[in-house]
């Protein structure tokens, strides 16, 4: 009688349920079985599967003969929900998809709404610069998680501590600017929710120096590390042809030597005015993908520095479109009881202008109408091409919102990367794709 949780006979063969700590018994029992083919279910709660990802592995010994992904455990119906809210409220939903890069979700959605409204060129320059700066900070915080957890999954604990320490500093910037560390709903159709608080740019300049030094130290922990090299070089191989046919974008595509970055090839938010390099590698493997992420950190810092210079010049410029029929009626301000509508605005609508009160009420409860049509607006998120397919029927709510999520498309390549490799390499391959399950399942 074996001591592991349970086993039962099915038409597919014997199924063993393992709960941990009983691997020896299972292994010995399987060893005496006639069949050599073993199917192992990994996840959806396995610590190294990046959230609720389920992998079904068919093994022969330690070699994977077939791999399938099971997804959908984090499906929250965000696309459906947005159809029942105003265009502005949609931001609050979509920011929760890819929870490691919320500002990219917001930007791609807002660019889509602005394109539908035909106000793309009316968005103030200061708003675009703030968007770029916030997105690049977000790229840093997202890459920090990718590098930290990626290293952790391969057994290196220190890089994770260091990466999360740096990420924390970036989240502090988000908190200072938007009031929230994650899911900020900061970028809104027409601009951003509020201007930068005083002293932000000066603080960011100081932070850049600090981050730049620490990034170099962190990189040293991995780049020359012989264990890291052995676990990542030649692992999770996917070449250019594979990436193209599977629609894989982002660092995975750039690790094949293809310099495809939408910030360069199809610029948005004024990225054509910034000086930065597209980082590539030619290894097609896990090592190259992490190397790209490490080097992209420096490029993001370069862009943020240029943003700081631009912001100094644009001090006091508006951060929301001038059209009062679209712009949110009030800027937020910090009062004694927390963040809320500015007191000047409250005084105006409650005390002096009935029309302003009606306008505020209408635009907040009903929202604005968006002319009928459909658009697709892509941005380069830390994971690849994130695109919003928005359809409007001319109403105050979206008719259909669909997101082309980079994690969803890239995760599809797991089978191509892993079949034929060893079981331990699956963890490295999945980590190099850096899927966020909120983005995959939406």
């Amino acid at each position: 009688m074996s001591t592991f949780a349970s086993s039962r006979e099915t038409t597919e063969g014997t199924i063993y349920s393992v709960t941990g700590g009983d691997w020896d018994q299972v292994a010995s029992e399987i060893g005496s079985a006639k069949e050599e083919r073993v199917v192992v279910n990994m996840g959806p709660q396995h610590p190294s599967t990046h959230g609720v990802l389920r992998l079904m592995l068919e093994l022969e010994g330690e070699t994977i003969t077939e791999l399938r992904c099971g997804i959908g455990y984090l499906h929250t119906g965000i696309e459906k929900n947005t159809e029942f809210r105003t265009w502005t409220q949609g931001v609050t939903f979509v920011t929760r998809m890819d929870y490691l890069s919320p500002l990219f979700n917001e930007t791609t959605y807002c660019l889509g709404v602005e394109k539908l409204l035909g106000i793309t060129n009316d968005v103030p320059e200061r708003a675009s610069v703030i968007r770029v700066m916030m997105m690049e900070f977000n790229r840093i915080s997202s890459h920090m998680v990718a590098l930290g957890t990626g290293a952790l999954e391969l057994g290196a604990i220190t890089p994770m501590f260091f990466a999360f320490r740096e990420r924390e500093k970036v989240l502090d910037v988000f908190e200072k600017v938007s009031g929230l560390r994650m899911n900020m709903a900061y970028i809104r159709p027409g601009g951003v929710a509020q201007d930068l608080p005083e002293g932000t740019v000066a603080g960011i300049r100081e932070l850049i120096k600090d981050l730049r030094k620490n990034f170099k130290d962190n990189a040293k922990l991995l780049i020359g590390n012989s264990i890291w090299i052995k676990r990542t070089k030649g692992v999770g191989y996917l070449d250019l042809a594979g990436c193209i046919t599977l629609g894989v974008t982002g660092p995975v595509l750039r690790s094949t030597g293809m310099p495809w970055d939408l910030r360069k090839t199809q610029p948005y938010c004024g990225y054509e005015n910034y000086d930065f390099d597209v980082i590539t590698a030619d290894t097609c493997d896990v090592y190259g993908r992490f190397l790209i992420r490490m080097q992209e950190l420096e490029q993001s810092l370069r862009i943020i520095e240029q943003c700081c210079d631009k912001l100094d010049k644009l001090e006091g410029a508006p951060v929301m479109v001038a059209d009062k029929k679209i712009a949110w009626p009030a800027q937020l301000s910090l009062g004694g009881d927390g963040l809320g509508n500015s007191l000047d605005h409250i005084r105006q609508i409650m005390g002096t202008s009935m029309e302003a009160l009606i306008h505020h009420f209408k635009i907040v409860t009903e929202g604005f109408r968006v002319p009928a049509g459909q658009v697709y607006t892509p941005v380069e998120s830390p994971r690849g091409e994130l695109g919003a397919h928005l359809v409007s029927d001319g109403g105050t709510r979206p008719y259909r919102v669909h997101f082309r999520a980079p994690s969803f498309s890239n995760l599809q390549s797991t089978s191509a990367m892993c079949e034929g490799s060893l079981i331990a390499d699956v963890v490295a391959a999945v980590a190099s794709i850096d899927p966020v399950m909120g983005d995959v399942d939406r």
């Binding site: 159809e83 029942f84 629609g247 009928a372 658009v375 892509p378 029927d393």
Partner: protein, 212 residues
């Protein structure tokens, strides 16, 4: 597309809370006239040259907000897609995904599948739109042309019930396998239904017990 008067442009009851039932109006974009502008003329001309049955396959060409959309008959989708990928001057080598849209008022064309294509070679984008009647929701699968559409087609099937003929394993991808209905269709409510799992039922919000 109808013309909008004013930003608020109230018609009917003006109820926007959603509790009075959402009113949806259907719309259909008009076909564009040549010249289309930008690279759109080049793309359509090249496609016409490489695909002789162009006029039979393309229902209409829509140019809106700087984006090109080709509405294609579903019987011809596979051939058009293959031509777009393989013709040297077109080279749309990446399909970014499939997005379903449900237009219940668009009689005999209720379900639409929207494909976003990208040509990295020429740095161009193109959208294909295919419609199918709700009573016969079949569209040919493009997995053979772009392997990456595999999961996207499964999602469109899961959410809209579009059946992609020729797909290697068309199963649900986000919802549980035994889920009834296709959630992102317009005739599927947002909430107020009991959530069912195998062996358990979670009642809808209005049927749950209240905590006092």
């Amino acid at each position: 597309m109808s013309e909008q008067k004013g930003s608020f442009g109230i018609q009917g009851t003006g109820d926007t809370s959603g509790y009075g039932g959402l009113v949806r109006s259907s719309f259909s974009p008009t076909s564009a006239q040549k010249p289309y502008g930008s690279y759109f003329d080049e793309v359509t001309d090249e496609l016409e040259r490489a695909f002789p049955e162009f006029n039979d396959a393309i229902e209409k060409v829509v140019v809106d907000r700087g984006e090109l959309t080709l509405h294609i008959k579903r019987q011809r989708l596979f051939d058009v897609a293959k031509t777009l990928r393989d013709t040297e001057t077109l080279r749309f080598e990446v399909c970014l995904g499939v997005s379903g849209v449900h237009y219940p008022e668009d009689s005999q064309r209720e379900l639409h599948a929207v494909y976003e294509l990208l040509s990295m070679t020429n740095n161009r984008r193109l959208r294909l739109e295919v419609s199918t009647p709700d009573s016969d929701p079949h569209i040919p699968s493009l997995v053979e042309v772009w392997a990456g559409t595999n999961w996207h087609e499964r999602e469109a099937y899961d959410m809209f019930g579009i059946i992609f003929d020729g797909h290697p394993a068309l199963t649900r991808i986000l919802m549980p396998d035994d889920w009834p209905g296709h959630p992102q269709r317009k005739d599927y409510p947002l909430g107020g239904i009991s959530v069912e799992y195998v062996g358990a039922t979670i009642p809808s919000p209005d049927n749950r017990r209240s905590y006092r």
